[in-house]
Symmetry: C2
Subunit: 169 residues, 2 copies
């Protein structure tokens, strides 16, 4: 049997504006990271929706006025920032002194963003909620968790928010 | 954010005769159970293929002679036993003194067996390989891990055997 102990693990948690991804992060912090006596790196990854671009009859891409684009960009950036702040607060609450927390915001379809980041960074585990990916939930068909479980080369942990909690909200 | 620390967790690992499920077990032992200072229960679950039964023209179920059925039963029982022995050896190697190890052999489609056991036993985590389920791999279409990730109410960890290891075999 191959040795698969990772003393300094890289764990990627996909976060978004939904409560489910925060629950997934919390579960990971409390069940996987909390008592490991190792110097793990926790990578919080947020997939930002790409700018909507439509192609006109003459082949040029256009859609919204620069003003609207700027407003949308500001909104998505603020959203990314607020998600990251919330995620980092959760990490602090668990007091994981030895764990390094990194944040990454990448533009694109979360399915690709998560799998590509996992591969590029050589992570040992990907953690994600089973639903969610908020803003772009309807834009990208197919389940992000399904896709990642199939495509990612590393173990994938899919955390479902218990119904009892989901119903409280 | 809801509290999700489980001090005495129940972790169900689906094992079969494939190397991938043993790798999944090993990963779980080394990454989730090993350093938890808690009294976890590890449940090793083996889904045994159901007896093949065909329906004759007169509506009665039949297929093989009693001798062949007995031989098949003996074979599947021996297989289940050998898988469990291998899994228990792996657990012993990791020296998890505080972890209780239980074994369960249940007859049926692994997709149902795993989800039903997870619900019935109230487990905190289901761990399984992304492929496999050996003997009945071809008999049951659809991915076991996909199905469980969608149906199980608890977190599901899908462990893929790294290509580098898979190629060694």
């Amino acid at each position: 049997m191959a040795e698969c102990v990772a003393k300094e693990r890289k764990i990627l948690v996909a976060v978004d504006e939904g409560e489910e991804s925060m629950y997934a992060l919390s579960w990971c912090l409390n069940n996987i990271l909390v008592s490991q006596n190792s110097k793990d790196t926790l990578i919080l990854l947020y997939a930002k929706p790409p700018r909507p671009v439509y192609t006109g009859i003459d082949g040029t891409g256009y859609m919204f006025s620069p003003d609207i684009m700027a407003t949308m960009d500001r909104y998505t950036n603020e959203l990314a920032e607020s998600v990251m702040e919330k995620a980092k607060r959760l990490c602090k609450e668990v007091h994981l002194l030895d764990v390094k927390v990194e944040t990454r915001v990448v533009c694109g379809d979360p399915r690709d963003v998560i799998c590509q980041a996992a591969e590029k960074l050589g992570v040992d585990l990907v953690v994600l909620g089973s639903h969610g990916y908020g803003l772009i939930k309807r834009a990208f068909l197919g389940s992000v968790s399904n896709h990642c479980a199939q495509k990612a080369e590393c173990p994938v942990l899919i955390v479902k928010r218990p119904k009892s909690i989901a119903h409280d909200k």
